[in-house]
């Protein structure tokens, strides 16, 4: 399996007054295409920090993050986020003055995807996630939580990137929708050969993933 992402000796801490709070301590981990990973751990253990560093939203204090063997600092963090990864957040993080398909279209435009009919493609992606044309053109704020999360996932997968990061993507959803969303992620990993990294508190969701990684005392430790 192709290695998509690698953490190498990552260190991360933040300053809390005079005290330095260590989050990650010289930890390394590799992530492969075609698999879905769950990062679990106690509250404050560094789960979200791992995702933030993987997404280039922040920089480690020491160590490097490699994407397909290349240091993401060398790729350029903006370019990396634009072309190589997609992030799905717990609170969906959609742009409120755009409707569903416009949110997807916006992501395609930012990625500078060259395509004949982007609008039709965006609607097709949304439709594949259960959002028909009438929902796709509706004001975002008038969609349910589950529908908004589907739009966020549609935005993530429309760009056809190899790495998708998801921070508690089912945190605000009902159990039925949770199952549907997780099924979507698993299908993306297994059928489309994406590398999916989920941060989750839920043991149930973690068990459905291919690899469970626990963060303990600043280290990423694969459990299975």
């Amino acid at each position: 399996m192709e290695e998509i992402l690698r953490f190498e000796d990552l260190d991360y801490y933040y300053q809390d007054g005079n005290q330095q709070v260590e989050i990650l301590k010289k930890t390394s981990q590799s992530f492969e295409a075609g698999k879905i990973y769950a990062i679990v751990g106690a509250s404050g253990s560094g789960k979200t920090t791992s995702l933030v560093l993987a997404g280039g939203l922040d920089q480690p204090k020491a160590g490097k993050v490699y994407f397909k063997g290349k240091d993401i600092q060398e790729i350029g963090l903006t370019h990396y986020r634009q072309q190589d990864i997609s992030i799905v957040f717990q609170s969906y993080n959609l742009i409120y003055y755009m409707n569903a398909y416009q949110n997807v279209l916006n992501a395609l435009n930012i990625s500078k995807v060259k395509m004949q009919n982007k609008r039709a493609y965006a609607l097709q992606v949304l439709n594949s996630l259960g959002l028909d044309a009438s929902l796709s053109t509706r004001d975002i704020r008038k969609l349910s939580g589950g529908q908004q999360q589907r739009v966020a996932i549609a935005r993530a997968i429309a760009r056809d990137v190899d790495l998708i990061l998801a921070d508690e993507p089912t945190g605000n959803l009902d159990s039925k929708t949770v199952k549907e969303i997780i099924r979507l992620f698993i299908d993306l990993a297994h059928e489309r050969n994406k590398c999916i990294i989920l941060v989750t508190h839920s043991q149930e969701i973690a068990k459905k993933c291919d690899v469970i990684i626990r963060i303990h005392e600043g280290k990423l430790i694969p459990v299975n």
């Binding site: 933040y14 709070v21 939203l57 922040d58 992030i87 957040f89 993080n93 742009i95 435009n109 930012i110």
Partner: protein, 481 residues
């Protein structure tokens, strides 16, 4: 970015409307200020041009009076203008043409003067005994004006006098014994083109025969009233060449030397060059460019121009500041949106450009609308400003400029390129300030476009700094603690 900007404007109708109203008000006020400024500049230029491009070499009476010792008579301290002195200026830069003149009075045995109404009421003998204050000499019945050329004489240029037969004297007629007279005088004496008259100096020492080559009518004259003596009556004016005037007035000195410049704008430059390149004593003499008249007429316009300039600056600063504050307040509400865009890989620069586009689109619409409404406001404001401005004739007291000739005859200035009238109070019609023309000019439109762009840029600047400092992690992710 443009697409996102338009979506944002469309969705946030309230904010868009607020920004639009502010921009519209700012644009209207700015264009009003610019229009008034342009109109004031244009009017000042028109006044300058209407006052003419002529500069007169004359005696600096103020300095002479100040320097005169107690008991000294005027004729002891007055300094004449010589042709040699005047020639130093005629070849300087900016001089398009010039005219020297000698004024005086003459008598004529065969010529009957046109009597003034008041003149007939002067007691017998008083006319003969009248002595002007400066020269203590008698006056003749006719005034004579000798000129290098009559082409630029103000009375003929402004249409007060109109040549009806023959020609005006020019440089080619120098040394000739030609005369140009009024039609009334010609008719009174049955004279026509080719007729000959004989004139003599007031002391009778010199007699000259002159041939009539031109006849003019007087359409209007400022000196028709207040005439005590015949020679003050413009109908009794005889125009001759400079050399002839010298001979019959027995004077080698000029009454005035007037220089006509190529452009009214060059008056100051000409004066400076004159001071630098000639040996003329500028304490005793001066170059008069109608500055007093100009300053008096343009003071209101200058005030308006300054007011308009300050007005524009204040409006731009105030308007830009208000817009900036509104954008800073609204940008805080868009922090989340910025974080999302950054997480999608959008650059912060593009996000700032989007902010600029949003305000610029509003600015363009406001700018376009203000091109129509701005003129209306400009007219209202300029009307309010002009309500105290002078719009009437300006009355000036002309100082007595009598110059003593060698035989003591008085030479009264009557036809200048600039100074009019006699030694007494004279009404001088200044160019009237007509209503300001606050039409929109192309430079005003360009200035408004530039200022609109400046306001939009300045209003985006502070919010831009805020955007640059944002950390996407802090926006989007729960803090680990």
């Amino acid at each position: 970015m443009l697409w996102r900007a338009m979506l944002s404007l469309k969705k946030n109708k309230g904010k868009t409307a607020l920004l639009f109203v502010i921009m519209l008000v700012v644009a209207n006020l700015v264009i009003s200020g610019l229009s008034i400024q342009s109109a004031s500049e244009k009017s000042m230029k028109q006044i300058r041009e209407s006052l003419g491009s002529d500069v007169t070499l004359s005696v600096n009476m103020m300095n002479i009076m100040q320097n005169r010792q107690k008991g000294e008579a005027m004729n002891q301290v007055m300094s004449p203008i010589t042709e040699e002195m005047a020639d130093q200026l005629k070849d300087l830069n900016y001089v398009a043409s010039y005219n020297y003149s000698i004024s005086g009075s003459v008598n004529s045995e065969g010529l009957t003067a046109i009597e003034t109404q008041t003149n007939t009421q002067v007691p017998n003998g008083m006319k003969e005994e009248f002595k002007d204050g400066a020269t203590q000499t008698t006056l003749g019945d006719f005034s004579v004006s000798g000129n290098t050329t009559m082409q630029n004489l103000e009375s003929f240029v402004d249409g007060s006098y109109e040549l009806t037969e023959g020609k005006l004297l020019s440089e080619a007629d120098e040394g000739s014994s030609y005369v140009v007279m009024s039609k009334t005088l010609a008719d009174e004496n049955d004279l026509s083109i080719g007729s000959k008259i004989t004139v003599s100096s007031v002391d009778g020492s010199t007699t000259t025969e002159l041939e009539v080559v031109g006849i003019f009518t007087i359409n209007s004259s400022n000196s028709m009233g207040n005439m005590m003596f015949n020679q003050q009556n413009p109908m009794n004016m005889l125009y001759v060449s400079l050399g002839t005037a010298k001979a019959i007035t027995n004077s080698e000195h000029l009454t005035s030397a007037v220089y006509y410049l190529d452009d009214p704008e060059h008056k100051e430059a000409f004066k400076q060059e004159a001071e630098a390149k000639t040996t003329i004593d500028w304490e005793t003499y001066s170059l008069d460019a109608n500055d007093q008249m100009y300053e008096r007429n343009i003071s209101t316009l200058e005030n308006m121009e300054s007011f308009a300039m300050i007005f524009v600056v204040v409006v731009v600063i105030a308007g830009g500041s208000i817009l900036c504050l509104i954008l800073i307040l609204t940008i805080k509400n868009r922090t989340y949106e910025i974080g999302v865009l950054v997480s999608l890989g959008e650059t912060k620069l593009n996000i700032i450009i989007q902010q600029f586009i949003e305000i610029a689109v509003i600015g363009i619409v406001a700018f376009t609308l203000s091109l129509g409404s701005g003129k209306l406001i400009a007219n209202v404001i300029s009307g309010m400003l002009e309500s105290g401005a002078s719009n009437s004739n300006v009355t000036m007291q002309m100082p007595q400029m009598g110059m003593e000739s060698q035989n003591g005859s008085s030479q009264m200035p009557n036809e200048r390129g600039g100074q009019k009238g006699n030694a007494f109070e004279n009404a001088f019609t200044a160019p009237q300030n007509s209503e300001l023309d606050v039409s929109l000019t192309a430079p005003d439109v360009l200035k408004l476009a530039g200022l609109t762009t400046l306001i939009c840029t300045a209003a985006t600047l502070l919010p831009a700094l805020y955007i640059l400092r944002l950390s996407p992690r802090e926006i989007l992710v729960r803090k680990e603690g």
